[in-house]
């Protein structure tokens, strides 16, 4: 697991992908920070984080598209799958590597809070709430991207597919609002990641939401393992 994680991490920073992803994160979050708080004299960072939610929805797939698709294409999966390593460890190693790169970009968001604290009184609960929410959302996006990547040999297909999946995950609450049957719409909105994300941004740490995001991540990792396993039986 550690070996795979290390290899993937070094691969991120040998190719431009790691740097590009972090640069894009810094660029957008910096821009949102300036646009939503500094330029209008506001200390509410919720919109900065919300902006990043959409940026990650599109850009995390760039980070994850390579993970399994490239192995499938280069036939290096033969090395990984014939090595004495469990599939869950393999998948977790891959997930962690992408997640670490994601967090390297994400961590910068905390510094905005520090910058603000010099100018005015800030509500740290809200900042931390937003930060944790974004970190959890990132885990969901990374695991979803890893899952889609394991389905294909093409990085392009993986990227486009995971963007579509992320958008679908984020927009599930829209579907819920147009369904007339209350029971079904309740069920759908309870699995909406956006609604749960929104709860955090008001500074409320909900255990059930934390468990929810972690569960969704684990489910995607688990399906990825099953996909790898299934290929053996095909």
């Amino acid at each position: 697991m550690i070996a795979i994680m290390k290899r993937e991490l070094s691969a991120y920073f040998k190719s431009p992908i790691g740097y590009v992803f972090i640069a894009v994160t810094f660029l957008f979050s910096g821009f949102f920070f300036w646009f939503f708080t500094l330029s209008v004299g506001n200390t509410d960072v919720t919109y900065v984080f919300l902006g990043m939610f959409y940026v990650y929805m599109i850009f995390v797939p760039v980070l994850t598209m390579r993970l399994m698709a490239d192995e499938n294409k280069q036939r290096t999966d033969q090395l990984l799958l014939t090595a004495p390593v469990g599939l869950m460890r393999l998948v977790t190693g891959k997930f962690l590597s992408a997640y670490i790169v994601f967090m390297l970009g994400d961590v910068v968001m905390l510094t905005y809070g520090i910058v603000l604290s010099f100018c005015a009184e800030v509500n740290w609960a809200v900042i931390f709430g937003n930060f944790v929410a974004l970190a959890l959302i990132g885990a969901v996006f990374v695991s979803a991207g890893l899952f889609v990547s394991s389905l294909t040999e093409s990085q392009m297909v993986a990227a486009v597919g995971s963007i579509a999946l992320n958008v679908a995950l984020a927009l599930i609450n829209v579907i819920a609002s147009v369904i007339p049957v209350k029971f079904i719409s309740d069920v759908i909105s309870s699995i909406s990641i956006f609604d749960r994300y929104h709860g955090f941004t008001t500074g409320i740490f909900s255990i059930s939401s934390i468990v929810f995001f972690i569960s969704v991540t684990v489910v995607f990792l688990f399906i990825t393992v099953r996909i790898l396993e299934r290929r053996r039986w095909a």
Partner: protein
């Protein structure tokens, strides 16, 4: 030790591997011989746990690859048909990665040095795999299989794409490794298998057509009593003349090689050596022999022989064999 019992792999209704069983003992090099698409790679992929079998079992050192895959895999070093290399790593980084991936527990530096020594990678260890030549990439793949000193080595066409010098090196290496490992290697080149292996399993269309010691199989397949000649002169008369030599059983006239020169296939009684008699008869009638060689079996002929038990069934078959031989010649 590797034991395979009634292994079958189906893709839909097509059986890529059909009910095969064989055993490779410790310290044995087992050659897996078959044309492209015979099921060699499929079998190897099953043995290494990359894909699963539809039916049957495979045991690596007594461990069922489906029951306890992680333990079984820890005994295996696998070189797939296309070496599984990460092009963005240097040779050293790659072997380092494989070392930790396989969870090896031996002194890393000396172990990797030893492997690089064995496969002669010394001078490229700091280079990116991307920039290596095909032969070196193959060696890196080989080195990867050797990491952790596994008891069982499974090598899928390890000499494909190498130059003749490298092929000889790799064969010598396999022979050397065969002394204290169980080695399975596949190939579609008969002489290669003969040169390296103790035991040969011939596979065609997913079925085993022969499974024997290399020596026995070679003797059965040897064709010393079959000769190919190029002789100048009238083909009708020469054919009659050749047929009249003692011990000659059958004569076929093959293609025309040159003006007034035909190719002849002479089949004598098993074990009989008719070369001197042929020379004397032809010399007496002043028909110059331009070429004479014993007819080494091509892989296609081996299959024909093993599957039909007959090589020269008739002129038509011969005709079709020419087609095959010519195609086979292009392939190799």
């Amino acid at each position: 030790m590797i034991e395979v019992r009634n292994l079958t792999k189906s893709y839909g209704s097509k059986k890529a591997v059909n009910n095969i069983s064989f055993t490779a003992e410790d310290g044995q090099v087992l050659g897996f011989l078959g044309p492209n698409g015979a099921g060699k790679s499929t079998t190897m992929n099953i043995l290494t746990g990359y894909i699963s079998s539809t039916e049957g079992q495979a045991f690596i050192n007594g461990v069922d690859i489906l029951e306890d895959p992680i333990k079984a895999k820890s005994f295996i070093g696998y070189l797939p048909e296309q070496p599984p290399l990460y092009y963005d790593m240097t040779v050293d980084e790659y072997l380092d990665f494989v070392y930790s991936l396989k969870k090896c527990r031996m002194p890393k530096k000396s172990h990797l040095n030893e492997i690089c020594e064995i496969v002669k990678l010394g001078d490229v260890r700091k280079r990116l795999i991307k920039n290596l030549s095909k032969g070196y990439k193959q060696r890196v793949g080989f080195a990867q299989a050797l990491v952790g000193n596994p008891k069982v080595l499974i090598l899928d066409e390890p000499t494909v794409g190498l130059d003749p010098k490298q092929i000889i090196e790799i064969r010598t290496l396999i022979k050397r490794l065969g002394k204290n490992h169980t080695v399975i290697l596949s190939s579609h080149i008969l002489p290669e298998i003969q040169a390296v292996c103790d035991r040969i399993v011939v596979i065609n269309k997913g079925r085993i057509v022969a499974n024997d010691n290399a020596d026995t199989l070679a003797r059965n397949l040897s064709a010393d009593h079959k000769l190919v000649l190029h002789i100048e002169g009238s083909s009708e008369e020469i054919k009659k003349l050749l047929s009249s030599v003692t011990d000659v059983e059958r004569v076929f006239v093959g293609r025309q090689v040159d003006e007034r020169v035909w190719e002849y296939h002479v089949e004598a009684k098993e074990g009989a050596d008719v070369r001197r008699d042929l020379f004397r008869k032809l010399a007496a009638r002043n028909y110059p022999i331009l070429m004479m060689r014993s007819n080494e079996l091509s892989l296609e002929e081996v299959f024909l022989k093993l599957t039909t038990g007959d090589e020269y069934g008739g002129a038509e078959k011969l005709e079709s064999q020419y087609d095959m031989l010519e195609k086979g010649g292009d392939n190799q």
